[in-house]
Amino acid sequence: MSVARDSLISPGKATPRISEFRRVYRVMFSRWVVIAGLVIILLCIIAAAFAPWLAPYDPIEPDMQNPLQAPSGQHLLGTDALGRDTLSRLLYGTRISLLVGVVAISIAGSIGMIAGLLAGYFGGWINAVIMRVTDAFMSLPPIVLMLAISAALGGGLQSVLISVGVVLAPTYCRLMCAQILTLRESDYVTAARVVGASNLRIMARHLFINAFPPLLVLLSINLGTAIMFEATLSFLGLGINPPTPAWGYMVNAGYRYLLVNPMLTFAPGLAIMLLVLSFNMVGDGLRDALDPRLRGTI
């Protein structure tokens, strides 16, 4: 009897929780693109953290002796119109990109998830109002909405954070709401209600936790999207104000000298592309790893 029970409950030594984590981990790291993405992200984090030590020159101080230099031993990626080292500006630029990515996602995630949680949990007119407002925001192209909000707020870091956050929030709201709608009828929610748990407790302890995995995928993919949006706004001249090095603005400032020094435009654009691509790859890897339908196939 005891032998039969043992074989039923524990086929191996690992408890189910750990094996689930291991499975996610294994699927995540089985593909080289995901690992490459993580490596690039890690390099960017290192560049952002240690920019003052890594950058060979000051990113802001003009050096009028050496404007628009081609790449050379002294300036690996050349210099811009004010003689500033492109490599140094790129390294410092990771700070803005990662900062905007993380903060804008936090803003979008908190607004969107709370709204979606409320809409999904309470249903009825609360759901109707929240979802229609979401639809209204989503009916506009993100760039147009960002541009309008950012222009109205007057540009600069703060307005970039707010506009990117507002533009991304509706997706979280929708996804969260859809998740909650399927989860709120589960037995464990009914059980929690029966033992007298408050609405807040059910939402925070039971629903939110269980609805979170797909949102995590969205968060990781949106980190790339937020970085792209910041770069777009900065390129359009409505983002980070100069002289702070931001990749989008560097492309904007560089393209006036496209014929003289194409590296000024090429390098920051490539940096944006690589970082955004990395976040997308990691997000995709995470999605595949967390998707129960793909369990066992990869």
């Binding site: 229609r132 407002v133 639809d135 209204a136 925001f137 009916s139 506009l140 192209p141 993100p142 760039i143 147009v144 909405l145 541009l147 309008a148 909000i149 950012s150 222009a151 109205a152 707020l153 007057g154 790339g224 792209m228 770069a231 777009t232 390129f235 359009l236 001249g237 409505l238 989008g248 492309v251 393209y255 496209l258 014929l259 194409p262 435009t265 090429f266 654009g269 490539l270 944006i272 592309m273 955004v276 691509l277 997308n280 790859m281 995709d284």
Partner: protein, 314 residues
């Protein structure tokens, strides 16, 4: 079906009303008084007073909104500051250019994106599939303003194949128009191609696993017929919903592409107006764009209900 259409219409109307509220609020997000914020610091008191009168800024907010909506329904978006005419003028002049480019880009991306998706799904896990997937991901992650600039550098400056910038209608000069349109349209289409390819690929992979595909193969249909007749039809249903999103992406992309290629369309109008603080034009542009996307979404919803009858009863 009729009840479904009516429901979607009412729903679209509600969304449009909410969008007008958002657009209306835009002026009040401006720091300080909307009139001074729009005119800048060097405006004379008379100019400020004129704008205040025009916007009914001395009345309660709800009355201001009512007045503004009343004007809007009469096709009056308000006086533009930089164009010294009603904002409808510059917007309606710029809109056809953007629409022209967006429609071409839409056609190109639908054909290319869906074909890439099919090939990629049919040749799953081969070298070709990997290459196509990598390109789809790259297309999604490339900043299109940068892509445009690189295109200008290579194809306009170095190879001299295309003119650097500008826009000409095909009715004015066909050859010039085509050579000026190729690069902007490709840049505009790249993200849409990437999205369509990804979606087609994954929904095609989903469909290929179904029983009716096995049946079609078992009864001896040629692979070509199985894929194009049986699988594609069903795989394209989720792709149709993307078309609404594509309209948004193309209009959004036009802001960047028109800036890079110096095309006098709606996107460039929006960005120059935003930079020069002409918020009446920005507001009008936002409204027009959201009307277009809402209408596109309505069409998508209706066609989705028509393609997949289960949707109608949700």
């Amino acid at each position: 079906m009729l009840a479904f259409i009516v429901r979607r219409l009412i729903y679209t109307l509600i969304v449009i009303i909410l969008v007008t509220l958002i657009a209306f609020c835009l002026l009040y997000v401006l720091p300080g008084d909307p009139a001074t914020a729009m005119l800048g610091d060097d405006a004379t008191p008379e100019q400020v007073e004129r704008i205040r009168k025009q916007l009914w800024l001395d009345r309660p907010l709800i009355i201001q909104y009512g007045h503004w909506m009343d004007n809007l329904l009469h096709g009056d978006l308000g006086m533009s500051i930089t164009y010294s005419e009603n904002a409808t003028g510059p917007i309606l002049r710029a809109l056809p250019i953007t629409a022209y480019l967006a429609v071409i880009a839409m056609c190109i991306s639908s054909i290319t994106g869906v074909s890439i998706g099919i090939i990629s799904a049919v040749k799953r896990a081969t070298f070709l599939d990997n290459i196509l997937v990598i390109f789809a991901n790259l297309g999604y992650a490339t900043p299109i303003f940068w892509l445009g600039l690189m295109g200008i550098y290579v194809f306009a400056y170095h190879l001299g194949w295309f003119p650097v910038q500008g826009f000409t209608w095909p009715t004015d000069d066909l050859g010039k128009s085509i050579s000026q349109t190729i690069m902007p349209v490709i840049c505009l289409a790249v993200p849409s191609i990437a999205i369509l390819a990804r979606q087609t690929r994954s929904s095609m992979l989903e469909v290929i696993r179904q029983d009716y595909i096995r049946t079609a193969r078992a009864k001896g249909l040629r692979e070509r017929a199985v894929i194009l007749k049986h699988a594609l039809k069903n795989a394209l249903i989720p792709v149709v919903t993307l078309l609404g999103i594509l309209v948004r992406i193309l209009i959004g992309g036009s802001v960047l592409v028109e800036t890079v290629f110096n095309i006098p369309g709606l996107g460039r109008l929006l960005i120059t107006s935003a930079i020069y603080g002409d918020f009446i034009v920005v507001q009008g542009g936002v409204l027009i764009i959201s009307f277009i996307t809402c209408f596109a979404n309505l069409l998508v919803d209706i066609s989705y209900g028509w393609l997949d009858p289960r949707i109608r009863f949700e």
